[in-house]
Amino acid sequence: MKRALKPAEAAEMIPEGAVLLIGGFMGVGSPHRLIDALVARGVGGFTVVANDTARPGKDIGKLIDARLVAKCIVSHIGLNPETQRQMIAGDLEVELVPQGTLVERIRAGGVGLGGVLTATGLGTVVAEGKPTVEVDGKTYLLEKPIRGDFALIGARQCDYVGNLEYTLTAHNFNPVMAMAADTVIAEPHHVMPVGMIPPDAVKTPGVLVDHILERLI
């Protein structure tokens, strides 16, 4: 059984320069209160691994605005001109990764595989400098696993042992990221007693979750 943390307490755990896996897709399913707490704290230099950087002033975009991000590994920054501006100015390093490759690289990090063999990116700039592996006459890119120091997970609800449920398009990268970091902090909308979430509804088992944020309202 876990103790509910206040967002500021959780943010305090995260040191300067940490590698953060942050769930969400254009902010949907992102851990919003954790992001706000990180901005309020002001410690940065983070490497952020996420699908995208959302929009200026929104979601992960707030971390960009606050210049707390030194590097991001993302699939898309098209809707965040501030990310592009900092990148072009040389203030922010951006590694663009195809979305399907990004999620498999994080999964590989989480489930202990040595890498990902994918055809995605072959013959494009994504393949530059990367080894290829031939399997039965077909060529694949070897993409490396990604792990984080912390995973910051948005969830619909959890129970006291940390079992997580997600909903609709707010799943996205969260279940995979919850497997791939040394410390996993979950931000649920609702917290419920043990036994309220049926075993078949659990998408992230509580044994993967280190800390839970207090309920939303």
Partner: protein, 217 residues
């Protein structure tokens, strides 16, 4: 009928009963409006739902149910939530029957460039590289030329999205199928002459004796 509607209506004719279809944001997303109501088709939004529906009524939006562009959507009865690993497993694994994507350039080999303009626009590839590599059919839906500049070119000058040959190119002027021999002109747009198409196309086209006009019901 404006150019975009011509394109969307013609692409909609490629959709078949029972298909799983991914529509890119922007013009491709208009295709859903022209699929017959009695045809059972599942639209996938790669951010996490199979069975994407229309916009929700005002005041009924759920912030955890959006399309890949972050816009509010609904889901049809029989919809399924998927996380990003499942979403791209479907795409990469060949389970997606069709994807419709916008294009910046397509060349004589049927190669698509649609994700960046070096020095100008670096949005990131998002899911495009996986979609083009993995979907069973890849349909490029785009206006034929960009302010007079041909977009169908001998060889892409912009960074490629994938080495995979796309299945079909649909513009307001023409339907073109990339083949082993090159780009074959299959149909003319409404009221468009073959010579108009040739004038607006930088790539070599294979033109049969008879080029039927699109039939847009």
């Amino acid at each position: 009928m404006d150019a975009k509607e011509v394109i969307a209506r013609r692409v909609a004719q490629e959709v078949r009963e029972g298909m799983l279809v991914n529509l890119g944001i922007g013009l491709p997303s208009m295709v859903a409006n022209f699929v017959p109501d009695d045809m059972h088709v599942f639209f996938q939004a790669e951010n996490g739902v199979i069975g994407l529906g229309q916009r929700p009524p005002d005041g009924m939006e759920d912030r955890d149910l959006t399309d890949a562009g972050g816009g509010f959507v609904t889901a049809v009865p029989g919809a399924a939530s998927i996380d990003s690993a499942m979403s791209f497993g479907l795409i990469r694994g060949g389970h997606l029957d069709m994807t419709v994507l916008g294009g910046l350039q397509v060349d004589e080999k049927g190669h698509l460039a649609n994700w960046m303009v070096p020095g100008k626009m670096v949005p990131g590839m998002g899911g495009a590289m996986d979609l083009v590599s993995g979907a069973r059919r890849v349909i490029v839906a785009m206006v034929h030329a960009a302010k007079g500049d041909p977009k169908i070119v001998p060889e892409c000058t912009l960074p490629l999205t994938a080495l995979r040959r796309v299945s079909l190119i649909v513009t307001e002027m023409a339907v073109i199928e990339p083949t082993d021999e090159g780009l074959a002109l299959r149909e003319r747009g409404p009221g468009v002459a073959v010579d108009d198409i040739l004038a607006a196309t930088a790539a070599r086209l294979i033109v049969p004796d008879e080029v039927p006009e699109m039939v847009l019901a």
